[in-house]
Every structure is written in structure tokens, then in C-alpha cells.
Amino acid sequence: MKSGRQEKLPILSSGDVVLARQKVRQWATEMKFTLVDQTKLVTAASELARNALEHGKGGHMVIEQVENSTKNGLKLVFEDQGPGIADIEAALRDGFTTGGGMGLGLGGSKRLVNDFQIHSEPGKGTRVTVVRWK
């Protein structure tokens, strides 16, 4: 996977979640993703940014244009220094929640992207990497 331009945004308030959504929308539009693909990626970004804020006590998002041998894609990395996730498998299950949400954030956003990776260390933080290919 080759990397192109990238940008880093802080996620420290619910206003930042809105800005992250808008940034992802802007890049996905520029890259001419279909409207449905744009909507899926922006929605996934919204879920993951909120997770970083609510559960990770804030962090940042890196947005990056990527390409492999056949296609272009948009990669998003969400990183926080929060408490981390002890049981990732459980956290990915629909309905799993430690907050007041519906527990659709992680499992749901995984369904909205093509590649999904999560790395978490209890006490250190969580990094979620997603890619949507065109």
C-alpha cells in the first residue's frame, strides 16, 4: 500500500468529531467516491472519532490517501491514549457497550469499511485503522 498526502486532526471535543466528519467528506468527495461510499466512510469516521473521545478521553485522527496496485483508497487512523480495550472481540460484538451507547460503534463501523484493524493495550490506548477502497 502506497501513501499519498495526509493530514492530522485533533479529537478533543464533540466539535472536533464534526470537523473530522467534514474533513473525511471533503477528501472522499475530492477522490470521487460514490455518494453511498462517502456516506459509509463518514459515518464510520463519526463512530470511531466519538469512541476516541468518549472512551479514549480524546486523541487524534490521521487521514491519508493510499493506493495499491489496482485502486485508490482513503485510510483513517484513530488513536487515543485512553484506558484501552481489554477484550477486543467482545468490543466488536454488536450491543457491547461500556458507555451509554448502543454498542454499534466498533462492530458497525467495521461493516462500513473494507479493511479494519484494531490495536489496543490496556492502560496505554487504542489505535483503529480503517480503509475504504474505491
Binding site: 464534526v18 466528519r21 453511498v36 456516506t39
Partner: protein, 126 residues
């Protein structure tokens, strides 16, 4: 403080969400709506989301909460105007909004509200 306006039309309340809502604004709308239903004894709420470009699990939950709270206060809620791409994404995300009544646009949404509140239909059409 930033707020989403709530319009009163007879027995009903109309809300058009036209901004990219941050979470606090969504919670504020929930509170404001229940207050207005009580204040004006409203029998129905119509929420137009046609300009919303995404509905994530948070906004979805807010819509479901509003419908549930309104129901407890004897008011019906109809959500109208969801864009096709938003509907596709919402279902894939895992939310079917099963407790929320929906209509394609404001006109059919209002018809649905009058239908649900049959007692007011004659009053309006006469």
C-alpha cells in the same frame, strides 16, 4: 446557546435539522422537544432530516429516544426525508430504527401524523 428551532403548527411540532449536529446539540433537541410537547400539549412531532448527510448511531439513538419519550407523553413522532445513502448506511451500521415511524417527505409525514391522530383530521380538513 446554539439550538435547533422547534415550530408549532396546531397540535404538532415541526423540526428541521439543518446543521451537522454535534452530540450536545442532539441531546439539547431531545430535552427541548419533550419540554415543548408538555408546554403546548402537542400530539405529534415531525422531524425533517432531509439535509442530514449522515445519521450515525448517536443521532439514530437520539431519534429513537425522542420517539419513545414522545410516545410516553402521548405524542406520535414521524421522521421524514432520510436520504437513500443515509438509509443504506444506517442499516449496514446495524440500526433499523424499528421504533421510529418514517415517511419519505414532509407532505406524507404530515398525512401520517393526521392519520395517527384521526381525531384532528376532520378538524383540519373542514
Amino acid at each position: 446557546m446554539e439550538r435547533i428551532p422547534i415550530l408549532r403548527m396546531g397540535q404538532f411540532l415541526l423540526v428541521t435539522i439543518q446543521v451537522d449536529m454535534h452530540d450536545r446539540l442532539a441531546v439539547q433537541l431531545q430535552d427541548d422537544l419533550t419540554e415543548k410537547i408538555s408546554e403546548w400539549s402537542s400530539r405529534g412531532v415531525l422531524i425533517d432530516i432531509s439535509t442530514l448527510e449522515i445519521v450515525d448511531s448517536f443521532i439514530g439513538r437520539m431519534l429513537a429516544n425522542i420517539a419513545a419519550m414522545a410516545r410516553v407523553m402521548d405524542a406520535e413522532t414521524v421522521v421524514v426525508g432520510m436520504q437513500p445513502a443515509v438509509a443504506i448506511t444506517l442499516v449496514e451500521l446495524g440500526m433499523s430504527l424499528s421504533g421510529v415511524r418514517t415517511a419519505l417527505n414532509v407532505e406524507t409525514g404530515m398525512e401520517l401524523l393526521y392519520e395517527l391522530r384521526g381525531d384532528f383530521h376532520s378538524e383540519i380538513s373542514e
